[in-house]
């Protein structure tokens, strides 16, 4: 059992450190993960294991704006697939990809808790609900 007090405990917190780095750098560069593992004296796999476990942590550089559209049942029932197809057509890349100009990353995600506004998506930290194919272009236009 650790005898360190509450404030010290966050010091070697791998997830917190990764989250802070991603917030600053945008993703988790391999060199950073190696460095972090060295400084904590743990195998690199311990750090990469955390980084790869969580879907919001990126080990490759994402686009400037990350689209996360919900693919779970409540959105699916409200024709979420049409919205996914519309975005794909609009930005020209399939889910899981980033546009060549680096403007958008496009990800399908599990339930984001906006089912009362289905179909719904997040772009960066912003909520977009009650989507229709007609709304997509003007929404995307706000993200440069």
């Amino acid at each position: 059992m650790s005898k360190k007090d509450a404030t010290k405990k966050t010091f070697d917190n791998i997830l917190l450190t990764l989250e802070e780095t991603q917030e600053k750098v945008g993703y988790l560069p391999a060199e950073f993960m190696v460095e972090l593992a060295d400084s904590l004296d743990v195998p690199v796999s311990d750090v990469y294991g955390v980084a790869s476990f969580y879907s919001f942590l990126a080990t490759r550089p994402p686009g400037r704006n990350v689209i996360r559209i919900c693919k779970s049942l409540p959105c699916h029932l409200k024709d979420g697939q049409t919205i996914i197809d519309t975005i794909e057509k609009e930005i020209g890349v399939k889910p899981g990809r980033t546009t060549p100009d680096g403007r958008f990353s496009f990800e399908l995600t599990n339930c984001i808790g906006l089912c009362d506004g289905a179909p719904a998506m997040l772009i960066n930290h912003n909520v977009h609900v009650d989507l229709t194919p007609g709304k997509i272009a003007s929404i995307l236009d706000k993200y440069k």
Binding site: T17, F56, L73, L77, G113, L114, C115
Partner: protein, 398 residues
């Protein structure tokens, strides 16, 4: 039984950014009252109220608090689980958006009662836009002196359904992969950093101030024998009015989905999200309670145009993706379920696989490490029971 507002009583009434509006609605009076009572006294009120965990498992809140209170050790933690990831659940988002102060007060009462100086709110990454509001509520409570001797930190998740499971959540706060732990020991004995810990759902904590103010006996007047108080439901799917509804426990499902949410031509209802139960329309007069069906209160309604195998297949795909992978029955079982359901959906099913699915469902329920794997096969089990002909139609050659 009617709608009632206990958990949502301040929603739409107070300004979630302004503590003074909360104070005019008896805000923080319960915390003051609790601090004038002994911990045993508070635990007694919570026990009398019959309040059970609103995250789905329904564990008695008073018993949990008492367990952590009585565990030896001077360092203890209280955690609020704001990682609602169950498909179709959004009540905690609505609660935090409208009344973050009641949550802070509830957590502070938990901290006092359990004997913890540190509390955590674990907020799912998908709700990062609530961070400012929640932080504001904590800061204002701190400045007003309500949190003296008690610190609340927010930890943001990073996109993992399994972290809503209490032991995985604690692993995540400790900075690790969110994998479920073996139990015992239970969190009340050895939780966060192996210290005595309570973890309560957002909605559970929202009830605490009301119980302390009005007494456990008042609360226990509402509900059924084993389900006291109210429950907040998230209703979505094929309904005219999706949204958040609070009802007295024991209210009939029909009143919620047909009456309030305006559903028509219902084929089946999934109660409790991906790990919840599926029931056909003819069971719609079922009371909503821990004795029957409840989960965390996600109600997904499917009308007659929906394909049962498509719904179940998507449910299993979700769980296969979100399984943490630590234990074999869940990790491998989900993969096989997805594969076989795909075959039935394409009309390539084998008759003998229906029996195998039932055996596998039992195995997973009995041998998985945590609630995810244990409850994962419910959608298959229930639809095999109520919609078996849909599977039979998917057998190759039929």
């Amino acid at each position: 039984m009617p709608q009632a507002k206990i958990v949502l009583k301040n929603c739409g009434i107070i300004d979630p950014k302004d503590i003074n509006t909360y104070r005019t609605k008896d805000g923080f009076k319960a915390l003051d009252k609790a601090r004038g009572m002994t911990a045993a006294g508070v635990i007694n009120e919570i026990k009398t109220s019959g309040l059970r965990g609103r995250g789905g498992a329904g564990f008695p809140c008073g018993v949990k608090w008492e367990g952590a209170r009585n565990s030896p050790g001077d360092e203890k933690y209280v955690i609020c689980n704001a990682d609602e990831g169950e498909v179709g659940t959004f009540k905690d988002r609505y609660i935090i958006q409208n009344d973050p102060f009641s949550l802070v007060e509830g957590l502070a009462i938990a901290g006092y009662t359990v004997g913890a100086r540190q509390g955590y709110i674990y907020l799912r990454a998908e709700y990062s836009y609530l961070l400012g509001l929640l932080r504001g509520a904590i800061d204002q409570a701190q400045e007003a002196g309500y949190l003296d001797g008690f610190n609340i930190a927010i930890r943001l998740g990073a996109g993992a359904y399994i972290c809503g499971e209490e032991s995985a959540l604690m692993e995540s706060i400790e900075g690790k992969r969110g994998e479920s732990r073996y139990r015992p020991p239970f969190p009340t004995v050895a939780g966060l950093w192996q210290k005595p810990t309570t973890i309560n759902n957002v909605e559970t904590l929202m009830n605490v101030a009301q119980i302390v103010l009005n007494g456990g006996g008042w609360y226990a007047q509402m509900g059924t024998e084993r389900s006291k108080g109210t429950k907040v439901f998230s209703v979505s799917g094929d309904v005219a009015r999706p949204g958040v509804y609070e009802m007295v426990l024991g209210s009939p499902l029909r009143e919620l989905v047909e009456g309030l949410a305006g559903a028509k031509d219902i084929k089946m209802i999934q109660i409790g999200g991906a790990t919840g139960r599926i029931i056909p329309y003819d069971m719609i007069d079922t009371p909503l309670a821990f004795e029957s069906y409840l989960g965390a209160g996600a109600i997904t309604v499917y009308n007659k145009s929906r394909d049962v195998l498509d719904i179940v297949g998507r449910t299993m795909e979700f769980l296969a993706e979100e399984s943490c992978g630590k234990c074999t029955p869940c990790r491998q079982g989900m993969e096989w379920m997805v594969e076989v359901l795909g075959r039935f959906h394409r009309g390539e099913g084998l008759a003998r696989d229906i029996g195998y699915m039932e055996v596998l469902a039992d195995t997973m329920a009995l041998s998985s490490l945590c609630g995810l794997g244990q409850a994962a096969p419910f959608a298959v089990v229930d639809t095999l029971k109520y919609f078996r002909s849909d599977y039979e139609k998917g057998i190759s050659g039929k």
